[in-house]
């Protein structure tokens, strides 16, 4: 047993000596990237003992400056400095810089919700007039698939088909119920005033469908003209 311990200690000492003399050959799991080639022989230039490489990246790489030209720079907005979660090295001189795809959940919450901070607003008609409401249809996992629950705002029916331009002539960011013979502004105003409703411009806030009896109230009587509503199914 004693001989074994002695032999083991000798072997360990020999490995330690070889590691110091030839660190790259004994310990390095592969060539470092081109940008790190000059410091390849100095392991501790990147690796802080027992704390790994994350602790020392920022000594050379200023966070605000990280990023490709023309691409959003987000490294300052990361929740934690865990460089090795996305980047690695020792994968060869020409290895890609990032080994994982960017994920929005790595960003601070305030930055994560501010889509326009990194993304340009789409210029198509679907998105005209929309500002900062991306999460209503899109998820951070990907632009597609996108979803929009139109029925939460207004339910289509035979008289109100899904003809976007009829209600959204200026883009999907805004709508109007005026423009067809049933909803002439003067007639709409007359009917609402007769009911004592003064604020009737935001039609879909109370009318979630074309059903005349389906009116969702938001307040009580005497609330400044918004009270004379009845909830769906509450009777006449």
């Amino acid at each position: 047993m004693r001989r074994l311990l002695l032999a083991g200690s000798g072997l360990l000492a020999a490995i330690a000596a070889a590691s110091v003399a030839f660190p790259h050959a004994v310990l390095s799991p592969g060539d470092v990237a081109e940008g790190h080639a000059a410091i390849e022989g100095d392991c501790f230039a990147c690796h802080a003992p027992f704390r790994g490489p994350d602790a020392r990246c920022a000594a050379c790489h200023e966070l605000a400056g990280i990023g490709s030209p023309g691409r959003p720079r987000f490294h300052e907005a990361l929740l934690e400095r865990a460089c090795a979660a996305c980047h690695t090295d020792h994968e060869g001189r020409a290895a890609p810089r990032a080994v994982r795809e960017f994920r929005h959940d790595l960003l601070r919450e305030d930055v994560r919700g501010a889509c326009a901070g990194c993304h340009l607003a789409p210029a198509d008609t679907n998105h005209m007039g929309l500002r900062g409401e991306c999460a209503a249809c899109h998820r951070v996992e990907g632009w597609k698939p996108s979803t929009f629950d139109h029925e939460a705002s207004f339910r289509f029916d035979r008289n109100h088909p899904a003809d976007c331009a009829a209600c959204h002539p200026k883009g999907l960011g805004e709508y109007t119920c005026y423009g067809c013979h049933e909803h002439e502004p003067a007639e709409v105003a007359r009917k609402h005033r007769k009911e004592g409703i003064a604020d009737f411009e935001a039609c879909a806030e109370c009318h979630r469908s074309g059903e005349e009896d389906e009116v969702e109230g938001r307040g009580e009587e005497g609330d400044g003209g918004r009270g004379r509503r009845r909830g769906r199914g509450e009777g006449d």
Binding site: M1, L4, A7, G8, L11, L12, I15, A16, A18, S19, A25, V26, L27, S28, P29, G30, C43, H47, P49, F50, R51, G52, P53, D54, A55, A84, H90
Partner: protein
């Protein structure tokens, strides 16, 4: 011949199982588990050395054959996990030496298992032969006791297996120390 095939098969199965498991982990996007599997495999191998403690009477409870069985199962399983951890990477000498030494130790262990099995068969054959000569039970046992075959074979085998195990153990320890030194824990 069948016994040789079984032991060679166990070695081949070790390599095959690790290749399949590594491929499955990659396919499932669980490549990060490599490091954990290396730790788990090393721990299993370490626990399997309870057999050596029992054999040297440092541990006195339990039956040695049960410890030997445990040693075989845990060391084989642990080796699969370590192989999944290491894969076929040869860039750094230290982990490569550790992994190669481990494979040689597994091969040596399977050889020892085979030799032990054969020695037991020889012993049983000798007993049968002495009994067939009409010797009494006590006489058979006293002659068999003098049969040094088993002891000789296993002593020679241990002279190879233990130094190889030492090389593997020290290389694996140095690799673990280097990983701790350079990585974040």
């Amino acid at each position: 011949m069948r016994a040789v095939a079984v032991h060679v098969g166990l070695f081949a199965l070790l390599v095959l199982a690790s290749v399949l498991a590594r491929g499955a982990l990659r396919a499932l996007g669980l490549g990060d588990w490599d490091r954990l599997l290396g730790i788990a495999g090393s721990l299993l191998i370490l626990v399997s050395f309870a057999y050596s403690l029992r054999k040297r009477k440092i541990v006195t409870r339990g039956r040695p054959p049960a410890y030997l069985r445990l040693h075989e199962i845990l060391a084989w399983t642990g080796s699969v996990l370590v192989l999944v951890h290491g894969g076929a990477r040869f860039e750094a000498a230290l982990p490569w030496v550790a992994q190669t030494a481990m494979l040689v130790v597994v091969a040596s262990g399977l050889t020892g298992k085979y030799l032990l099995q054969r020695a037991k068969q020889d012993l049983a054959g000798a007993r049968k032969e002495f009994a067939a000569q009409g010797l009494g039970k006590e006489e058979v046992e006293s002659r068999v006791l003098g049969l040094a075959l088993l002891v000789q074979r296993m002593t020679r085998w241990r002279a190879v297996h233990i130094p190889l195990t030492l090389l593997f153990g020290v290389a694996a320890l140095a690799h673990a120390m280097a990983a701790m030194l350079f990585w974040r824990w």
